[in-house]
């Protein structure tokens, strides 16, 4: 242990401290002061971000630093994801304040769990050792199970949590089985060692089948976490039942963490097995795009619809991974995934923010009909929602376009023309259900026409940040592309 170990763990440590702090402070807060928890959590996120920044400054030129006995790799990739998680969490916290009050569940545990789950995500993104990754995954997952079921008096929330837990635990089990086989093949839990040993195993006809089983089970677990079809069943339910603010958080941060883990494991640990998992991913990604897009068509619940849309987005991102590893590590595909996750953070959180804002008094606000005539009730939010939806559909010049752009660029440059065509056609397909929401907002009739929607200040801030980010990244993406290039260590003209 040297001091850099502590530095590398600083963001996680800070989050933990603040989470514990919230738990303690919550004991002393009277009921009407519970918003203070949100503030504490927000400050915690800021501190953690400062910690990440500190690491970034310290690393300066070097691409990354290994710490904690070679189990924690804080490189640019990890830092990128750290920022992403923290941004998503910050916005989600803003979204939660008023919502929890309405639901009458404003307990400090909510924020503490949120921060702790981010700590888990950071371990997933920075883990260089399957044990750490696994534990981080579980920390995140278990926090999220609870957060999903946080509305304890709401049956939908209960059910969602239960389903999410059952399927999540099941997938963790399968994932762990895969990891155990990987360990068995490699004799180490460190990803680079696994990589080396797998290369040898792949050459050995005797061990190759075992390696394949390890791969299949591991990848099943990974795909579960990012909710790719056919391992997606939990997502629509969990998204629909969860508190809306958590749905946003899940669809963004949890998914990003899943991706971080997937990229780490596939690109570092399982790289020697690329020829095997690429076809697998092709299949999964096509299935995901097809299934999710068709399923989304028939939804009448906005949260559920967005859940399917987020599954569909996973399909596109998987395309990026296919492109990104077609021959060797190809920057464009991976870049597409990274930037996709970035823009997805803002646009999806924004969309869920608007839906969260619809929750007031006795209206739950997650049915498509609840959006009817939103324009007349809250014009700014409606227009922002339109922007988020179009961004999700990938219409330029909005942020969402850039993710698709790089993914398709990657596909084109690696010669996957058919996949690219399929991808773009499905993205058109996707537009249809986004337009359903837009139709409701702009063309539907509100039940009580001119009643304006009360939207709290933090919520406005959250939606505004998301909206501005979506527009800004869409219009002037250069600095963000540079950021991703920096993350991947690419310099380009």
């Amino acid at each position: 242990m040297v001091w850099t170990d502590y530095l590398l763990a600083l963001p996680i440590t800070l989050l933990t401290l603040f989470a514990l702090g919230i738990l303690l402070i919550d004991l002393m807060l009277p009921k009407e002061m519970k918003w203070a928890n949100a503030i504490t959590a927000f400050i915690g996120v800021l501190f953690s971000a400062a910690g990440v920044y500190k690491i970034q400054l310290w690393m300066a030129a070097s691409p990354g630093s290994l710490g904690m006995m070679r189990t924690l790799l804080v490189d640019r990739f990890a830092i990128y994801f750290f920022y992403l998680f923290l941004a998503a969490t910050a916005i989600a916290i803003l979204m939660s304040v008023r919502y929890l009050e309405i639901e009458n569940e404003n307990h400090g545990e909510y924020y503490a769990l949120m921060l702790l789950s981010v700590a888990g995500m950071m371990c997933m993104a920075a883990g260089f050792d399957i044990v750490l990754i696994f534990i981080g995954l579980e920390l995140m997952a278990i926090s999220t199970y609870v957060l999903v079921g946080f509305l304890r008096r709401d049956r939908r929330s209960n059910e969602a949590a239960l389903k999410y837990l059952l399927l999540g635990a099941f997938s963790s089990g399968i994932f762990a089985y895969g990891l155990s086989l990987l360990y068995g093949l490699a004799g180490s839990t460190s990803l680079p060692v696994i990589n080396q040993q797998l290369t040898r195993s792949m050459a050995d006809p005797q061990y190759k089948p075992v390696a394949i089983i390890a791969l299949v089970t591991t990848i099943t677990g990974l795909l579960f976490k990012i909710a790719a079809i056919p391992f997606h069943q939990w997502a629509p339910d969990a998204y629909e039942g969860a508190p809306t603010s958590i749905t946003g958080f899940m669809s963004v941060a949890v998914k990003a963490a899943g991706w971080a883990m997937l990229l780490r494991i596939l690109l570092i640990g399982l790289m020697p097995m690329r020829p095997i998992w690429v076809p697998l991913l092709v299949f999964v990604s096509i299935a995901t795009m097809t299934g999710a897009n068709f399923a989304a068509l028939t939804q009448t619940n906005t949260k559920r619809l967005l859940a399917y849309s987020s599954i569909a987005h996973v399909g596109y991102m998987l395309l990026g991974l296919i492109a990104g590893t077609a021959t060797q590590i190809n920057a464009d595909g991976i870049k597409g995934i990274l930037i996709y996750l970035l823009v997805y953070t803002f646009m999806n959180l924004g969309a869920f923010g608007v839906i969260t804002a619809l929750r007031h008094r006795n209206v739950i606000g997650d049915e498509l009909d609840d959006l009817n005539g939103l324009y007349s009730r809250a014009p700014v939010e409606a227009v922002l929602m339109l922007i988020f939806l179009l961004s999700l559909a990938g219409i330029p010049p909005l942020a969402g376009f850039w993710g698709k752009y790089f993914i398709f660029l990657g596909l084109i440059s690696t010669g996957h023309y058919a996949l690219a065509s399929l991808g773009v056609l499905y993205s058109v397909f996707g537009l249809y259900y986004y337009l359903k929401i837009a139709n409701a907002m702009f063309m539907g009739k509100a039940e009580k026409a001119e009643e304006t929607l009360p939207i709290s200040l933090p919520m406005r801030a959250a939606i505004a940040v998301a909206g501005i980010a979506t527009l800004y990244i869409g219009l002037l993406p250069n600095s963000f592309i540079e950021l991703v290039n920096w993350t991947l260590g690419i310099t380009r003209t």
């Binding site: 399957i130 199970y145 049956r155 939908r156 059952l166 963790s172």
Partner: protein
């Protein structure tokens, strides 16, 4: 016959696979949530058996300090404990609202 008599890592692997399989079947077929959770425990136990057996195997190669598998197994047990605690907690909350423990009566949301 020697294969049968001489217990090797492989025997443990096969046993683990069988356990894993039982767990998967349990998860996929049972309706009772508690039993589904138990089946998940079976899966995690299969994992642990694998890990410990492999740990033994690699100890033979890397020397006595190569206990990574055992440590991993301890982590998995920790995880199992946490998962079970939260799972049962959620189950209780669920039961309070709806008096059933059957998975397919978890039907407010589509399964």
């Amino acid at each position: 016959m020697d294969f049968m008599l001489h217990i090797t890592t492989l025997h443990y692997l096969v046993l683990g696979a069988a356990l894993f399989l039982l767990g998967v079947i349990g998860v996929l077929t049972r309706r009772n949530v508690v039993i589904v959770l138990m089946s998940i425990e079976l899966i995690l136990n299969a994992v642990n058996l694998n890990l410990v057996a492999f740990s033994r195997y690699w100890q033979g190669i890397h020397g006595p300090q190569a206990l990574h598998g055992q440590v991993f197994a301890i982590f998995v047990i920790t995880d199992a404990a946490a998962e079970a605690a939260v799972g049962l907690g959620i189950l209780i909350a669920f039961f309070r609202n709806k008096e059933t423990v059957n998975v397919d009566e978890v039907n407010l949301l589509k399964w």
